[in-house]
Symmetry: C2
Subunit: 116 residues, 2 copies
DNA sequence: ACCACCTGCTAACTTTCTTTTGCATGTGGA
DNA sequence: TCCACATGCAAAAGAAAGTTAGCAGGTGGT
């Protein structure tokens, strides 16, 4: 299953390339929790945490789910997805050809000699 | 030796989280080359390529060196550094405590209640 | 009812990337 | 000398990311 497409890989890299998000991952490894609590632990605003969590979620690194706390309140729990990404020139090189980013959209995949 | 500090890891993630840079890595794996040529191959401007190369270099993923081409011209060759980064909740969690980013600079480890 | 928490969302700002343009310099070959 | 290529750097415009602040609604407990 660890055969990320270029875009998928890019999303994961983008999601992990931020100190807050790395901390979030670390925190969630220690224990799954709900947003407000996590925000308090990391000492960042809920709004900010939410944005970061979404990015992690979009990359498939964490998952969210609603749960009812002991006091009957609805809490949104987040937990880690047991991912494992190996970054080496090879793995990257293998993913690159599957990049669909608005970058490869040249309409021209190969060809075109630079000569005049 | 693969024991990146949080900052180091962050730099590598930041460096790889971009389609152009992933392509650059892939291209350099295929063959080491000099800037102008690489720019032609990737079909991006030299100026842009330079910026990306610097970022990769700053993260220690590629290295540069001057060399004299057959025609006696000075060329700046770039080549890959055989890196290998494993991303899992654990490896990340292990790196997080060593993050020195202007983020951890709270000067205040605990304290400050959220009260109004 | 009021307080204490939880959730979600948006508008506005600030900061950091990304990319383009253009200039300056150096070398070998015709 | 002029052309073709290489290198380097910086200013400026555009785009994306990161943050803050504030509003709205929901539930349980006192």
């Amino acid at each position: 299953m660890t055969e990320p497409t270029g875009d998928q890989l890019l999303r994961q890299l983008g999601a992990l390339g931020n100190p807050h998000r790395l901390r979030i991952v670390a925190a969630l490894l220690a224990e799954r929790t709900y947003v407000s609590k996590l925000a308090r632990e990391l000492r960042i605003s809920r709004a900010l945490l939410q944005v970061h969590l979404r990015k992690l979620e979009a990359a498939g690194l964490v998952t969210a789910s609603f749960e009812i706390g002991e006091d009957g309140k609805t809490l949104r729990f987040y937990e880690l997805t047991p991912f494992s990404v190996v970054l080496t020139p090879k793995t990257i090189s293998a993913a690159v050809p599957t990049l669909t980013t608005p970058d490869s959209v040249h309409g021209n995949a190969d060809g075109e000699e630079g000569r005049t």
